[in-house]
Symmetry: D2
Subunit: 340 residues, 4 copies
């Protein structure tokens, strides 16, 4: 998306052919390539009980361009332990995520001001089904709150939700559907849930990103064509995502790099390592395209075989965290009591 | 919904406690009770290959009140043979329905003017899942037509679709969601698909109703609280429905009536038959409520055990008919070629 | 199933036309009709925190015939409060059910002796989907235990599971499939989960029955044609069931009875009440058949509209109770930690 | 699975690190590496209307070892056009597949001798759901044929079916479940349907393989641990499969090879090309493992994003072909009439 020549002259290194929806990885990559701090970014790290919390802010347009990520705040939880099905850890992540969400979302005190939660993605494609699965377990209350319903009692915010499906099944851009609904419902906040693509395999199903910049065009497993953010939706839009796939081209690129590294270490191959160093990014990109071309390159995703169980777990964690962060009553009484 | 006293004085017979979403049945009931033609209604019947076609029009406000159905045109197909899984008959019904839809819908010649099809109902409740199932098999083209996409070729109308779910899962009235979307997409026509309640068991899964008055408040298996029609949606709205349930109170009422009939025929019971004749509608209603009360009466539905297979079949018939009626190309080449 | 004449002469009252899969209801009915204790039955009642526990034993063949239920032990939990979605109550029911199951099942101490759990019923028909839904949340361990897998650790029993579907989708009697599998796997115990039919609407989704006599022919929502029990399966077979439907003929019958009761109380209708008293069971049965005939009477079920949410809740309760009762480790650490 | 040293001394080239479940690809690979015909294999090719038909027979043990595929007959249909959703082509493939299946399966004339069709794989993982989806559309008749049921009429074979799930959800090896059932049902033939892994991306969702050797240990998307074949099942076993994934390690390997090829063509890189030629297979394998290791290498699959629609289409084609090949009546009247 960024031509190498142009950017080189601008003095910073582009993310050649690496697809990642995580701001954390974009920063990592740029730092790796420039071996220097990036100006215009603040970052804070916490470690709690096996959960790494990163609070990142992209503050300048230049930093935004360098990372290929929108300006704004990013909250990232990394929990490598989630790969082993550990229910106690899942609950801990939910609780910490709820606490961090309360801090991040800055919700209005008035519980009648509604929040619209939208589950993006395709029900029928396992690694793209995170959004609809979160919606399934969400405590939806707007109709009850509006009716002043006595059953629920106090302490519940007006929450509404939709899983609209994807462009191929609706014929309407998902951003358009959300904007139409937001115009009607007038939510104080829109939260969109989506499955993401990462660069690093170890991040699949172990990382959660929360971003107040919404969703960028072309991101997500389903590659949303338009962005979904404050501009397109007409209301503050926070995106919550979990990487569930790596692009096949990323894997092919990593294979190239591993090979180059191998030759660099090898005495005999040293000359070769140098040749490869010169091997330019455009050639590299063309070659990857060639490898994947039989399948119209770029539309291929790499995902673990157990993706169904992992998506299920992450959906549970996120909906528990949302229920707790959105509804003060759930927060005080514990989320498992209200999971549907 | 209509108090008996008031209406009796007005001179016509109300549909005491009988719940039906079919205009055909409402008319049948009133005729049965009044033993006379109802003014303000025109009706036309055709019989074709085991398919009974009825074209009904409710033309006056008085007829509308008498039937408890909105003014407008109603097309009804009755196909008792559908209860036996006969694939050839299914195809015939699809074709005839497509032909009747073309006549009924009066679609604009300009294929760029979009049609929005909405599948009402709850995915997770079998007899309420007709709408979402129809959407699954619908040929959705708006995004391709808008992009002037060359892949599709000519002869396709811009069709878009949504299965929004129900109030309990979204927190938003379905009518609101459709209105919001219609305001954005500006469709020439909105078509809503819904599962209905009938009075007669023999009509379950064998009858299709098309109505240009949209959907009335309180109708459908899921009891939509607001109506979904031209007024609420802001665009012409046609409803397509299939009865998949009978209300439990209807069954209880039929049991009463069968008993009364039985005694009327019986010599000894003749006196009783007379007593029952006096047994007034209010007492009858109270008694039925009492029988069903342990389950908050009226929220109970009667449905056949094989409902899943029947709903599947009817969804297939309707989506094939819609694909053919909406897309001139599908109409000319045969719908099965385009079923997804 | 029992002709009235024959049984009357035998001196006890048959369950005219009332379909129930609950031993508790069968007993209730017979007691109601005979106004006397039934010999050959022992029964014990406990009340705990809004949960009524009944331990029933049918000890003689005569009692078995009178109730129309197999000899054996029946454990029934009644929890009217479950109709209001109360997560804390659900957890309490799971815990008490686990405790009662441990007592009821008398499992072998050797954890290597496997237990086979079978989810009966049809995935695609909501009120018949209890069995498959329980299996989804079950902690399946046989392959890990067999491999001496170190990941799990100690304290897990070898549990295996299957949701075979129904006769219409497999072409094989479910009892045959289980018997075939049991012959191979040699489980110490087979547990089958099934959705049941009740007589009383208030029992829908609020009652759990555990029976060591397995499943009788013709019972369950799907009407299993053969029984599933020790004889047919070749291993001890315990059935766990929840009523999710009432037969339409039961509702029609209740309507008759309510009408008769009404007239009995009414001065003017007293004569009628008497006539109805004479109105014999055969006439009553014929009339009900007539009411429901348009839909091949008896294959119709009455179920609440919110059946999906209730089935989901009951499946959660049962799988949590089973995980705890079957695996000592889960029992000691709390079941929610191991729910998948 | 084959150590390189040992096999090199035996004089033929092993399939280093390339995973394919297709006999056709295994043969292609070996021919590519040896640049010679493989003894012990007969092969016949047909081209019909955009459908390439290959009939392959592996006749000797040596050929079997060289290809890493069991001795037996393999029928392969390759239809690149299926990637474009062309319903007319789908029907043509179904018809030709039905014709070829009749020839391949050599079914008994007696229609009472049953055929057991088993859908392998995991419902909840899209690219592994082919088997269960085929079963959904299969015309199951064993119970009706057994009952001498008059509804169906003549011309139907006794077909039964099961989708047992996977080891992780049952705790029982799928081969064990099938063997247990086969022992009881005594089918004349067992047909298993499974999703496969291919080497070539262009074969995904465009290729169907039928093999009378059943399923090899470790093959399929879900990596069945034991084989499923005549020996393990106790009845003749035919496997029908469609590749829906490529192993991530295959993609990484292809990236290596593309790079080597690139340098071979390049003047400057010629030296490098030579070095890479020496770069031995063990090093290559280690490097690939390293690239994929963060995700416990080898459990990663590459699949197109539209996998859901393609799996749906292939399931439709296969079930239509099976219905026609198994039931003479469907064959003569056209399969679409009997698709459920």
């Amino acid at each position: 998306m960024i031509s190498s020549k142009q950017e080189s002259s601008a003095g910073f290194v582009p993310l050649y052919n690496v697809r990642t929806d995580l701001a954390l990885e974009a920063r990592e990559l740029v730092q790796q390539q420039t071996a220097a701090e990036i100006p215009g970014i603040t970052s804070e790290n916490l470690q709690e009980n096996g959960i790494a919390i990163n609070r990142l802010e992209i503050e300048t347009e230049q930093a935004s361009r360098q990372l290929g990520k929108s300006e704004g705040r990013y909250l990232t939880l990394e929990v490598p332990g989630l790969r082993r099905k550990d229910a106690a850890l899942q609950d801990r992540v939910s609780e910490i995520m709820a606490r961090e969400l309360v801090r991040f979302l800055r919700l209005p005190e008035n519980l009648d001001q509604s929040v619209l939660v939208v589950g993006l993605g395709n029900w029928n494609v396992t690694p793209d089904s995170l959004g609809p699965k979160v919606i399934e377990d969400l405590l939806v209350t707007r109709h009850a709150v509006a009716a002043g319903q006595k059953i629920l009692g106090d302490g519940f915010r007006a929450v509404c939700a939709l899983s609209p499906g994807v462009l191929g099944t609706t014929g309407i851009e998902t951003g358009e559907i959300i904007a139409a609904l937001a115009q009607r419902v007038k939510p104080a906040l829109v939260i969109v849930i989506d499955a993401l693509a990462a660069r690093r395999l170890e991040r699949l199903h172990t990382t959660i990103q929360v971003a107040d910049s919404g969703i960028s065009p072309g991101s997500g497993v389903g590659n949303n064509r338009l962005g979904i953010n404050r501009q397109t939706v007409g209301a503050p839009t926070v995106a919550i995502g979990v990487p569930t796939v790596v692009d096949a081209s990323t894997i092919a690129g990593e294979a190239f790099d591993a090979l180059a590294d191998h030759f660099k270490k090898d005495a005999r191959g040293h000359a070769l390592g140098n040749v490869m160093k010169d091997f330019d990014w455009e050639q590299r990109r063309l070659l990857i395209t060639e490898v994947l071309e039989p399948y119209a390159g770029g539309r291929l995703m790499v995902t673990p075989k157990e993706t169904d169980a992992f998506v299920e777990d992450m959906a549970y964690i996120i909906s528990a965290a949302l229920n707790s962060a959105l509804h003060p009553r759930v927060h005080s009484e514990g989320s498992e009591k209200y999971l549907q």
